[in-house]
């Protein structure tokens, strides 16, 4: 177990390094950031000066070395647009993004797991068929379009929810969150439901598949034979074993949710880091894009690592090599 953990830690570092090279190369070959920082009517000398200050006059390997050493020290440079440290900008917006991602994840779990268990335990039932067609429809819908429809019906026409923005926030343990105020929840529901759509459909399908696999096993038949109640068999024996693949999917979905949050945040004008990324892409604000990508890469790598470890803990049959 220890050897495995160490090996995985090295793998994580390798992945992060590979991402840093890719990010650096992509950034180097696209556009010239000098024109982002100088005045529009700058003289050639001013442009050259700015180039030297940014270190863009050096060779590519040299630039990469600076990039990497700065990265190690958490020094990502200032945003060209906000003239503030790019890292601060992202970190400031991180709670808002994690907030909708977590609420979306919770909605997905609450909706998907009971439905998936039902559909998996009663495969031939008409209601199961309906659930499965519904989930297939959920996968087939563009998430951003669902969000727009929710905005139109619930916010524009019925005026039940605000159409955009984040509500009141409260500071808790140094983090500003809108999950502690009623107004905050009022604002977060629509974006979170929008974001949860695809994940709900996927988790539902995985839960169902897991349950169907488990319900065929001998120990389920045996539990029934010994006279355990239907509910007891379903939740005590079935669900516990059927949930193993679901745990992994939750981990993987976390990554997808962070990625899709960029779109949801754009639609709902939610002040998270996803919206900042899209805005920064429009403005070619390189330092912010770099921080976002490296931070998200870090999150993914850590989540994958944790999921792998959890996997072995939940299912003792799996041993790590």
């Amino acid at each position: 177990m220890f050897a495995y953990t160490v090996k995985r830690l090295f793998q994580m570092l390798f992945v992060l390094w590979a991402v840093s090279v890719l990010v650096f190369l992509m950034m180097s070959f696209t556009g010239d950031p000098v024109y982002m920082v100088v005045r529009i009517d700058a003289t050639d000398a001013e442009v050259e000066n700015a180039r030297r200050i940014l270190g863009l006059d050096r060779s590519l390997p040299e630039q990469y070395w600076f990039f990497l050493t700065n990265l190690m020290q958490g020094e990502f440079g200032n945003s060209y647009v906000f003239r503030q440290p790019a890292l601060d900008l992202i970190v400031e917006r991180l709670p808002a993004t994690l907030e909708i991602v977590l609420v979306a994840m919770a909605i997905a779990a609450i909706v998907a797991i009971p439905l998936g268990v039902f559909a998996g335990a009663n495969p031939g039932h008409p209601v199961s068929r309906f659930i499965m067609s519904g989930s297939l429809l959920g996968i087939s819908l563009p998430g951003f379009w669902v969000g727009m429809m929710l905005i139109y019906v619930l916010a524009v026409e019925l005026r039940l929810f605000p159409s955009s923005g984040r509500g009141e926030t409260l500071e808790f343990l140094g983090i500003r969150t809108s999950l502690l105020t009623a107004n905050g929840w009022h604002h977060i529901l629509l974006p979170a439901i929008t974001l949860s759509f695809g994940t709900t459909a996927i988790i539902l399908r995985i839960t169902r598949a897991g349950m169907m696999e488990v319900m065929r096993q001998d120990y389920i038949r045996f539990a029934r034979a010994k006279g355990a109640s239907r509910r007891g068999v379903l939740y005590g024996h079935g669900l516990r074993n059927g949930m193993i693949p679901v745990v992994t999917i939750f981990g993987l979905q976390l990554g997808d949710l962070i990625a899709f949050a960029t779109i949801t945040e754009t639609i709902f004008a939610w002040p998270g880091m996803g919206k900042l990324l899209i805005d920064s892409i429009y403005r070619a604000d390189r330092p912010v894009i770099v921080v976002y990508l490296m931070l998200v890469a870090l999150i993914f790598v850590v989540v994958n690592f944790v999921v792998d470890l959890l996997y072995t803990m939940i299912d003792p049959r799996i041993t790590v090599k």
Binding site: V15, A18, V19, M26, M27, F29, T30, S133, L136, L137, I139, S140, L141, P142, G143, F144, W145, M148, M149, I151, Y152, V156, S163, G255, D256, I258, A259, F260, T262, I263, T266, I267, L277, I278, I281, Y282, I289, L293, V296, A297, F300, V301, N304
Partner: protein
């Protein structure tokens, strides 16, 4: 040939599977619209001389103020939505299909090479695949597009870069199994070149699982492309796909002009839903283990 196919187990099961029939019907209608639609609508939505600004933002024909000439209404430039959707669906479908073909070709080739030769080549290809798989496709595509800028060709590159991995992994897995089998050893003994063994003997035996992956991937690609275009980093405004039509509709949604975004979205939904229904059926059919 055709008669044998019609009597096959495959067709027999298909006829008894309502979702599969529904999916096929949806896809047939969508294909018809995409292929023949542009010739059937009376307006070329991108020929400015055919647009009339006086007709802008007309609601669908069945609503007050609707014009029977514009069944689903018009957008801000007086463009017939039916025509815009038919043209947009064509761009979306073309991107989805071509990107799938590219990803499948490249992924299968790399998977065959990795599985057949093993060793360092295998380790390199699979390491790259692993790193890539730890990131969501949407994020990779978004990142690539933000570096490349807009354009259909760039969307194709981004989608291919995102999609090859799943083929490479699947094909490598099956290839590892196939090379152990006697027919491959026999082909080796017969002195056939590696290239010939891979293409003529191994390839046909690893193709079946790819059918399902490829089918479902077209739908996924259509959705990713729509999301990219919605964010403004996908197709250029001169070649609007369904995603870009929705984006244009979003800008006026708050004014209550819902039809400009609702109908393109329904079109995407129909296309992808049809693909997924058929994909589900194929998955059950081609994977005997599940029966």
């Amino acid at each position: 040939m055709a008669a044998t196919f019609l009597k096959s187990q495959f067709v027999f099961n298909w006829r008894r599977n309502p979702p599969a029939i529904l999916g096929t019907l949806i896809l047939v209608v969508c294909t018809g619209l995409v292929v023949f639609g542009p010739f059937l609508v009376r307006q070329n939505p991108y020929d400015l001389t055919q647009l009339n600004l006086m007709d802008s933002f007309l609601p669908p024909a069945w609503l007050d103020g609707g014009n029977p000439a514009y069944l689903l209404g018009t957008d801000g430039q007086g463009r017939d939505l039916v025509a815009a959707i038919v043209h947009g669906a064509r761009i979306s479908a073309l991107i989805g299909l071509s990107a799938m073909a590219l990803a499948c070709t490249i992924g299968t080739t790399l998977g065959l090479i990795a599985g057949f030769y093993g060793g360092r080549v295998d380790a390199l290809i699979m390491r790259v695949a692993d790193v890539q798989l730890s990131f969501p496709s949407m994020l990779i595509a978004l990142f690539l597009m933000s570096a490349f800028g807009t354009g259909i060709d760039k969307v194709l590159i981004a989608l291919t870069a995102v999609g090859w991995v799943v083929y490479a992994r699947t094909v490598r897995g099956s290839t590892l199994g196939e090379v152990q089998k006697e027919y491959v050893q026999a082909a080796r003994v017969a002195g056939l070149s590696n290239a010939r063994i891979i293409v003529k003997h191994v390839l046909p035996n690893v193709l079946t699982p790819l059918i399902v992956i490829a089918t479902v991937q077209v739908g996924t690609f259509i959705l990713i492309e729509a999301s990219l275009s919605f964010l403004g980093v996908g197709v250029p405004i001169t070649q609007p796909s369904l995603g870009l039509l929705i984006k244009n509709g979003f800008d006026v949604l708050f004014s209550g002009l819902w039809w400009t975004s609702v109908f393109p979205g329904l079109m995407i939904m129909a296309m992808v839903f049809g693909i997924n229904l058929l994909g589900d059926f194929l998955r059950d059919e081609l994977n005997p283990r599940l029966k």
